[in-house]
Amino acid sequence: MSATPTRSSSWTVRVREAGVAALPPEKLLPDGQPTYVASWIYVFGVASIASLVVIITSGSILSLKGPAWWHYTGVGHFFNSVHMWSVELFFFVMVVHLWGKYWMAAWRGGRQRVWITGAVTFVIAVPTALTGYVSQQNFDAQWISTQAKDGLNSVGVGAFFNVTDFGQMYSYHVLLLPLAVVGLVTAHLLLVRTHGVVPPFELDRRPALAPPPDGGGAASASAGAGS
């Protein structure tokens, strides 16, 4: 890390310094969290990430063998089942996570972008799942695509997003939309680490507290943890 007070002309150095300034390592990967982070509701944030990991892993295995593999092999069908159930778990834990964050009013204290990236992730996850359902190459895919087309066509989306075009839907499902979801989740996590976990309401009603005598101590340097 550069110790000179003058600003480096290197773009690389500037990006590194800005990154470390925004998220120093102890803030990015904290080993302590405020004592108020003590509820089962906090589990659902990390469970959402864990579900996404299982979705991407099982989906990658299905991608390795191609879209028809799971129809004619037991192993393929098993991984398709894991993929489907991890999607169901993903939506379940994400919805609980969102409700939890709503009742915490987790956008307080300048955390609006944390809420927005989380909410947009949910909204983008819906077409990500839909493109999977219409890429299944079975009766569900036939029925769902011929039904979904009417809603999409009615708002003009069907002009460039054709749910009855398997090739286009498969591309969206295995690349474009997962990229968007992973990008949003990454931004969401970095924002959570930057701002820390929203504190309880009681703190709001109190006057600003005097800093602890030791200036907060080593642990207090962390801005909170959990998701």
């Binding site: 909410a119 909204v123 504190p199």
Partner: protein
């Protein structure tokens, strides 16, 4: 714009910290979710009902196939009258002055008479009678074609009506259940009976499935034409009804079998079950607009007075942070 800003009254945490292992927590979460997904997969598997084909449709419901094909030929089917993005035969749905379906235009052009009937029939070899019928149909004036189509469609409509009302079928339509052949007595239908016999035969042999996928290039991934043709018929809907997938059965949020399907679409599917949406000819655009607005509101909750203040008023947070409040809510 100050009303958009919620009161920023959180204080930086000056209280105690407890040990926390983020990487360990994430690893345990991945292990637990993986285990859960595997257990659910072993116990319940996943649905995989075979897709329908046009060959299957034409063999199982030959009269329904001929009825749909006749509507494609005379331009009265759902796809033929759909409008954008498939053709200009309808304006599509609208909400007030908003006509996005029309504005975005025809991006996947489909002429149902040519694409679903005439062009596939032209690929049938060694059948001069059939090719003469196709040539005669194409050479006839539009008014004559329309009269032929109406004459041929009439007994088929009577057959469909009798089927719906569980009455005996009219004698003008006979079905040989052993061969799947359909005979329709329709005077004044011109070459259409010959064309429909040829198309039914092509479909039952499996040739129409391939014909509708044929395009300029060898490789093909676009199933728009066969899917739209099948959706105009009754086989997909019949299977869907048996699997509780119709629109008034909460539609595509369900899945075949007893699987949860896309349960997250419950709010989208809800609007289709209630008035005024349910009876509206513009139900799709209205539901999409409502869901678009609700999604936007969901994203913008931190800026919506009232909605953003509810968590402060309804003390569910006391359950979430009960340990914190039990210990006096101290920040030290």
């Amino acid at each position: 714009m100050s009303f958009l800003r919620s009161k920023d009254d959180t204080q930086p945490w000056k209280g105690r910290y407890q040990p926390y292992d983020l990487v360990k927590e994430a690893s345990i979460a991945v292990a637990v979710i993986t285990l859960l997904a595997i257990v659910l997969s072993v116990l319940f598997s996943s649905p995989d009902d075979k897709p329908s084909t046009i060959a299957q449709w034409s063999r199982e419901l030959p009269v329904n196939f001929v009825t749909a094909a006749t509507q494609e030929l005379d331009g009265t089917s759902g796809t033929a009258e759909y409008g954008p993005p498939y053709n200009h035969n309808g304006t599509g749905q609208h909400a007030w002055f908003l006509r996005p379906q029309k504005w975005l235009g025809v991006s996947h052009p489909i002429n149902t008479a040519n694409d679903f009937v005439i062009d596939p029939l032209k690929t049938v070899p060694d059948n001069p009678t059939l090719q003469s019928a196709v040539a005669a149909y194409q050479a006839a004036p539009q008014q004559t074609r329309k009269a032929w189509g109406e004459a041929y469609a009439k007994p088929l409509e009577e057959y469909e009506k009798a089927s719906e009302e569980k009455k005996p079928p009219p004698s003008s339509v006979t079905l040989d259940s052993s061969t799947g052949a359909v005979s329709i007595q329709a005077s004044g239908a011109g070459p259409i009976p010959t064309m429909m016999t040829g198309l039914l035969s092509l479909a039952q042999s499996g040739g129409l499935d391939g014909s509708l996928l044929t395009s300029k290039q060898f490789f093909q991934t676009d199933y728009t034409k066969p899917l739209l043709f099948m959706a105009d018929g009754g086989l997909l809907a019949e299977r869907a009804e048996g699997q509780h997938l119709l629109g008034d059965q909460w539609g595509m949020m369900n899945e075949t079998g007893s699987y949860p399907g896309q349960a997250w679409l419950w709010l989208y599917a809800l609007w289709y079950q209630v008035e005024p949406f349910k009876a509206s000819a513009n139900v799709d655009v209205l539901v999409m607009l409502v869901m678009g607005l609700l999604s936007l509101a969901f994203i913008c909750i931190p800026f919506i007075p009232g909605i953003r203040d509810l968590p402060r008023v309804i003390p569910i947070h006391r359950l979430i942070w009960k340990e914190h409040y039990r210990s006096g809510g101290s920040s030290r």
